[in-house]
């Protein structure tokens, strides 16, 4: 790999968003990695995604997914995305046998909601089918205590690594000291967010597996937030009081090399969803069951659809829109937010998805997004 040094001060907000009354922090991105000729995001299918719905994909009483149906959803979705008749060919467009593959799961809501083990196992199975050895596959997440309850090891091929960056909260030894975003949000002392070392120095490809979730700060949490906040240290500092900087921080982190180039596939696991209180899900009260998965390479396009999935569900539950910015609805007391869908914890920033589009991470305009829908 040709390695060069990039020291980049992020530009001010793009013109399309200049009317927003929002003060953007200055970001200094430090990375020694050059972008790929075609970065993984938005990849070969910008503005194109496949949405597969299967009524039998999950038992809503037991919340138990149907592995066979999940396998079929994935096969149909990947073939429709690529146009390949053989699912192995579809996966081979993204993964080669020599790759070291990171699978970025989301376990912040576990055990209520997480990247479903059946989905992750099916991804691993397909990656192995391409010729990748199990010990070249790493399921990764930031926090050990969130992964503990999921037991991926019971589902994935033997040899697949299940790894977390912080075995104890706040430990930073698994992050790359040379790859980071530096910024000050609230006069915090530690102004750096460092990329996970495996992401920068080991993985050659990353598959992103988010869930369909509401998020108290970002509005929703989907592809962009999972890959961004889930691959860097010290990101919770972006929220304080009623203010969150997720608007610009999520896209900025996702655009850092080599994360930007190596994240080659987005598999949105929407078997379960959370319509309020996310990213956590301590009770079933706010869970729902979209019974769908989305496949693509464009995280912005998928998240643009996710916005409507979550907001429509909230509307049907007579809850505040994710777009509501009224200060009168904001109460930073966590208990109120968790118990009342008409209270916000922060002024939500669903605009982070459009901002990410302005950084070149994908297509935001619904009129320019092509959705291939499959019903099983």
């Amino acid at each position: 790999m040709n390695r060069r040094t990039f020291l980049q001060v992020a530009a001010a907000a793009p013109a399309v968003l200049s009317a927003e009354d929002r003060k953007l922090p200055k970001y200094r991105i430090v990375s020694h990695f050059a972008p790929a000729a075609q970065p993984g995001m938005p990849g070969p299918y910008p503005g194109h995604l496949v949405s597969v719905h299967a009524e039998q994909s999950i038992d809503v009483t037991t919340e138990k997914p149907n592995g066979t149906v999940v396998g079929e959803m994935m096969s149909r979705g990947m073939r429709a995305l690529t146009g390949d008749a053989d699912v192995r060919d579809a996966w081979a467009r993204f993964i080669t046998p020599s790759d070291i593959v990171g699978i970025k799961v989301n376990c912040s809501g576990a055990p209520g909601i997480m990247s479903t083990p059946e989905v992750v196992a099916e991804i691993a199975r397909n990656v192995v089918a391409v010729g990748v050895k199990p010990d070249q596959i790493w399921i990764y997440e930031r926090f050990q205590e969130q992964v503990n309850s999921v037991h991926y090891d019971r589902y994935v091929p033997q040899g697949v690594h299940i790894w977390t960056a912080e075995t104890s909260r706040g430990s930073t030894e698994s992050y790359d000291p040379a790859t980071y975003v530096e910024t000050t949000f609230f006069d915090e002392d530690d102004t750096r967010s460092n990329m996970i070392r495996l992401v920068s120095n080991r993985f050659t490809k990353i598959i992103n597996v988010p869930n369909m979730k509401d998020h108290g700060a970002a509005g929703v949490t989907g592809c962009l937030k999972n890959i961004a906040y889930g691959s860097f240290s010290n990101v919770a500092r972006s929220h304080s009081g009623t203010v969150t900087n997720t608007y610009s921080f999520i896209g900025t982190l996702a655009s850092v090399e080599p994360l930007h180039s190596r994240t080659v596939l987005q598999v949105m696991d929407g078997l379960r969803g959370v319509w309020h209180g996310g990213p956590f899900s301590p009770s079933r009260k706010y869970r729902f069951y979209p019974k769908q998965m989305m496949f693509g390479t464009d995280p912005v396009a998928i998240d643009r659809l996710l916005l409507d999935v979550i907001d429509n569900k909230r509307k049907s539950e007579h809850a505040l829109s994710v777009w509501d910015r009224s200060p009168s609805h904001v109460n930073p007391q966590a208990g109120d937010y968790e118990n009342n869908p008409n209270v916000n914890h922060f002024v939500r920033e669903p605009g982070h998805i459009e901002y990410a589009a302005s950084l070149g991470l994908g297509v935001y305009d619904l009129d320019k997004i092509k959705v291939t829908k499959i019903e099983l």
């Binding site: 930073t172 030894e173 915090e188 002392d189 530690d190 460092n194």
Partner: protein, 312 residues
Amino acid sequence: MAALFLAVLLPTLFWDQPADTAETLRKAGIERLYVPANQVAAWKKSGLTALPFDRDKASKAAAPAVEYRMDVASATRIPWVDANGWRFARDPARSYFYDVSKGSAVLAAAEAYAYGVEAAIRAAPDDLEAFARMLKFLGAIDQPRLPVKANIGVIDDGSAAMGEVLNLLARHNLLFRVIPAPDPKYDLNIRLGAGEFSKADLADPYAFAMRIRRRLTDEKRLLRIYGSNVVLALLTGDGGQARVHLINYGAATVKGLRVRVLGSYARGKLAAFDHEKSELQDYSAQEGAPGNSTEFTIPEMGTYAVIDLTSP
């Protein structure tokens, strides 16, 4: 520059229990201690070096600790650190007395040593062994003390409010010295009533300290810590050598702490208390603009670590 080297003081155990406890101390590894003056005679036969110490004449140092105050609003949700560095910087020539509860004596010893003040530490009996181990560690790393490095000069009015500003500067690793009058060798001189810093501003010490930070700019800070908000630092140095003192006020081992020191140093050597095998990782030294800095990672540290930096 040898004339600037200052004498180094090792902290000392203060023990007010009877002389018949000498064997307990000896077993723990304590050889030298302070006792109340009226007990010195009784300790003479113990074989230990017992010196008189009048705790009432010493300045009281707070028990160093971290408090996680969930009920106190904080802009950055950082824990509350009770530390004495600001107090020592204000009056380094005084003797200090720590009366600490179980578990804090080792931290107190590290703190007092790092700042080079004379300190008597009344330790809990359960802490004696660890305390002696810390003294042994300090003895092993001890060297002639280098001058404190700082680029913020503070003309201290002696008020409690200014004391809190000094506390916050130390808390946020904004390296300062208390000076009698403005000195152009500092990047920033803070004097109340001069320029933008008024006495009324002291009503909000946090805002005051953060304004100092912004005026200095993070780029000019002599030392930065990444990866912990309970590790406080002190920097000493002269010419081509520097010593970084890192004091971990938290109970947990800190892993992967990243340190940035302004200036390029070719080599660094780590000594970490209770982590003898720990070595600096990911060391980099950049000369000239815009970097002109040295960075390294400490894989693991407990209560105290010292990094000696040298340039050719």
